[in-house]
Amino acid sequence: MSLMKSLLAGACLTLLPVAALADPALIFDLGGKFDKSFNEAAYNGAERWKAETGGTYKELEMQSEAQREQALRRLAQSGANPIVMTGFAFGEVLAKIAPDYPDTKFVIIDMVVEQPNVQSVVFTEEQGSYLAGVAAALASKSGTVGFIGGMDIPLIHKFECGYAQGFKATRPDGTLIINYTGTTPAAWNDPVKGSELLKAQVSQGADVVYAAAGGTGIGVLQAAADAGVLSIGVDSNQNHLHPGKVLTSMVKGVDNSVYEAFKAGTEVEPGVRVMDLASGGVSLAMDENNKPLISDEIAGAIDTAAKAIEAGEITVHDYMADNTCPVQ
């Protein structure tokens, strides 16, 4: 039976839809392309490349955990090169399939995959979050600030830990409330729960809340604006979502990573790329939307802390190095 099919299939093989060779491709993880945060940053990077070069790229949105392998294989099979994917969850699958497509270059963001044709882009989120903690400490009137994480994983604890270090360094007597949305990838896309968590934190006295939760953060920022407290966005610049209500955003240069990968095309350099504060990989977003909120004192403190981190005078502990945080 399979023999007959293979004969049939062989005859049809030439009819395969063939993509323009070496178009790059981008895969968005759960949470969706327009999560106004992590995935959308990647989308913006790809769009920037498209606008500048006039090229085209393939894109694919994950709908469920089980599709990852097939999506990757399909894109690789179609000749897309390089293939960029957002999110640590692709790590295991990519490690499995990368050797099957030695001529295709893969770029994975937020995870390290050791393969000769994979570029791994990781960010020093703890440094950017440290600055966010400094800003929160100075902007808070009550002395209580909050953190709302998406999925409860070491990567998000890295944000939390950096934030806590910056906050406690500036305001040692302050209180930090920490909540996580869930334990599965669904936690990246649950704005309703995000807003509930924010309300709970506000009732405990928090008046600045940092959301590191992908699409869930939209709910946090909305509820914060409604409740009249300040919020801190993540991954993309989210200041414009509620002008005057979002203190700042801890921006990860995901867009730049995607843009650079697309620009390098098949010449993407394999290996690990660490994007830190000094190289502009992470930063706090400052624009006209949050200008009234950032006093000279806050701006000065952020600047000082950033310089100290870049100079190595402050070492922000990376949670993922030992899965513990020196500050609680």
Partner: protein, 364 residues
């Protein structure tokens, strides 16, 4: 009303329903400004036009055969098992526990053990709703669908807290050992010297699915238990009068049904992912309902309907990849097929019956 010839009942009716469903889908695609002909071409080529497409289509077909058979067996006992999703998810847990528990020397040993684990977990997951139905009269539709949610939550818990390897962030089990790797159809073809469907997930479980079709046919139409199941499904009072225990038949039919749904996990968990991930079933449990309805509750029909839905699934995925037709529209197309072949079956059947009756009168 006089009956139609068998071929009209079995082939013509679903075919007309299918054509109607595709016609309306074409109108919808036209309405959003895309070309239906182009869409059809992409779907057919993507799913059937290459050995690569076939490799995926057969993989999905295997999933749907198991869940379709599961719905079918319960249906013959007059029970509507819509818990295939949860039973297949628990089957996945069974597979993962069995494969990870022992250092299997060879897949030929691991496969029967994993299949037993999958069937056992699936059957046990169907046991509670079956018992509640048989003893307490709690409606099986309500209980099985509620058990889907319990299964999803239980699996969440197991993957996050128990099966996740140390140091991993992904809520998924450890990778299965290399020795438990099931041969892919592509690898078997390569063994025969044929290059077929490289890197596709269709695997040896496909043959297990065909064997399951045969066994289910034997069970339903060639055994005493099958006769009792059918008798019970046709009329409970009559079955009771004939000395058939409703409790026994309800529980047994659901156990077989749950075991079949659970067996699907051999294909998707052991054959494809080679580890247990969240949402591994991907709605196949629900598609099984449509497959059973469209297959007119016969194993051969289930096999053909599963092939159709395998084609729709794979073709739909290709459509999302190669055209700007949004993924949601593919769900619309699948839903239309389900609607026409399942819910609106009589809309086609009754005019056809009348037509055949009229033809017969004219002939006589």
């Amino acid at each position: 009303m006089e009956r139609m010839p068998k071929w009209a009942d079995v082939i013509l009716t679903p075919l007309i329903s299918l054509v109607l469903a595709f016609a309306i889908s074409a109108l919808v695609i036209l309405a959003i400004g895309e070309s239906p002909a182009e869409a059809l071409k992409v779907m057919v080529q993507g799913a059937l036009g290459s050995s690569y497409g076939w490799g995926f289509t057969l993989y999905y077909t295997t999933n749907f055969v198991f869940t379709g058979l599961a719905v079918m067996v319960a249906y013959h006992a007059g029970l509507f098992n819509i818990g295939g999703e949860g039973q297949a998810a628990m089957g996945g847990l069974g597979v993962a526990l069995v494969v990870l528990a022992l250092p299997w020397p060879h897949w030929a040993l691991a496969l029967p053990a994993a299949a037993m684990g999958a069937a056992l977990f699936g059957a046990l997951w169907a046991l509670v709703p079956a018992w509640l139905q048989a003893r307490r009269g709690s409606h099986i539709v309500i209980t099985t669908i509620m058990f889907n949610f319990i299964a999803a939550a239980a699996l969440n818990y197991m993957l996050v807290n128990v099966l996740r390897p140390v140091g991993s962030m992904d809520p998924a089990s450890a990778r299965f050992p290399e020795a438990a790797h099931l041969p892919k159809l592509s690898e078997m073809a390569l063994g025969l010297g044929v290059e077929w469907g490289r890197n596709t997930p269709a695997n040896v479980t496909f043959f297990l699915a065909i064997a399951a079709c045969l066994l289910v046919w034997l069970l339903i139409w060639r055994t005493r238990l099958g006769y009792e199941i059918r008798a019970f499904g046709k009329s409970e009072p009559a079955a009771l009068y004939a000395g058939i225990s409703p409790v026994r038949i309800t529980v047994l039919a659901m156990l077989v049904s749950g075991a079949l749904a659970g067996l699907m996990a051999v294909n998707n968990v052991m054959g494809e992912a080679e580890r247990l991930v969240l949402n591994a079933v991907e709605g196949a449990g629900f598609i099984g309902i449509a497959v059973a309805l469209m297959g007119r509750n016969h194993p051969l029909g289930v096999l053909l309907a599963a092939l159709l839905f395998g084609f729709l699934y794979q073709g739909g995925g290709e459509l999302a990849l190669w055209t700007s037709i949004p993924r949601e529209l593919i769900v619309v197309i699948q839903a239309l097929v389900i609607l026409f072949t399942g819910a609106l079956d009589n809309m086609v059947r009754m005019p056809l019956e009348r037509l055949f009756a009229a033809l017969r009168r004219k002939g006589a």
